[in-house]
């Protein structure tokens, strides 16, 4: 991605590689103002990105290494508990707190 002011086909190729390798932020940061403008003005680019995502999914989607669902569920549950606590803390009034103490 060192090449400055890449052509639209090069931008798409780099987008595809970034998506495939899971480093989209690096691609986004590599864009110059000129390239960002070229992307904005190119309908072909936007249509092609849609296709690239599907190709990425068809080619690599099944290779996703999924974690143990049980462990993941405990992460989700912990997130829910933390939100519950946050919600109850924000609804508790200060005067009520003093009474409880």
């Amino acid at each position: 991605m060192a090449n400055l002011n890449r052509e639209i086909q090069e931008l798409l190729a780099d987008y595809g590689v970034a998506l495939r390798d899971g480093c989209l932020p690096a691609f986004l940061k590599s864009l110059t103002r000129e390239e960002a403008r070229a992307i904005r003005e190119s309908d072909d680019f936007w249509e092609a990105t849609e296709m690239v995502r599907l190709m990425n999914s068809a080619g690599f989607g099944d290779k996703v290494v999924t974690p143990d669902v049980g462990l993941f569920i405990s992460r989700v549950d912990a997130a829910i508990v933390s939100r519950q606590k946050r919600a109850s803390a924000s609804t508790r009034s200060p005067s009520r707190n003093r009474v409880n103490l």
Binding site: A13, L31, G59, T66
Partner: protein, 217 residues
Amino acid sequence: MGPRALSPLRRLSGGQYRESENEKPDMDKRLRNALKGLTSPDAESRRRAMEPFVRATFNIFIRHLYRYLGNEVECEDVLEDVYADIWENPDHLRDIANDAHLLRTVYLYYMRKRLREVYRRMNRNLALSQADLENLVAPEMGLHDITEQAELRQLLHRMLGKLKARERKAIEMWMQGMSNRAIANQLKTTVGAVKMLEFRTILKLRRMMKDYSDEED
């Protein structure tokens, strides 16, 4: 800007075509029950319903997110927030008709919000406008975005069969994970020519997909 057309449902897990999502196909019973629990007004019931819901949907959701992130660790982090958001505000999940409707709703109302947040903080240092950034990282659903993985592969395989040998070879090698330089070596050409070939071929495939969708509709 960006891809925008939302195609109606085409096929469900049983392999049957359906006209629209208003038709109620059989949804996995456990998932249907979990959805019922998830839309309960009681927070504890929703929390209990989360486990079967995650079990029934995790693989589908993480593979879908992978399309936009390409990175398992980030997919898990985003998905954790998505499930917690669903627990907190499950209103959009009332009246879900089938699996594809569920995936579309979860993407549009929960995943997109989180995907945008992943990149929002970056935007101060980017040349892209906020709208373009969002279209790139969390686009609206386009053609075949809710098509199942296996069906998508089948469809792509069929489309690839209609391409010229050189075009097909380039795309197949890309989908095997080869770099553009390696593809160029195989095709005995330059990296620049490979990128141009891929770009044109991808647009060709996109047109074929669109024609296929139009026929289906």
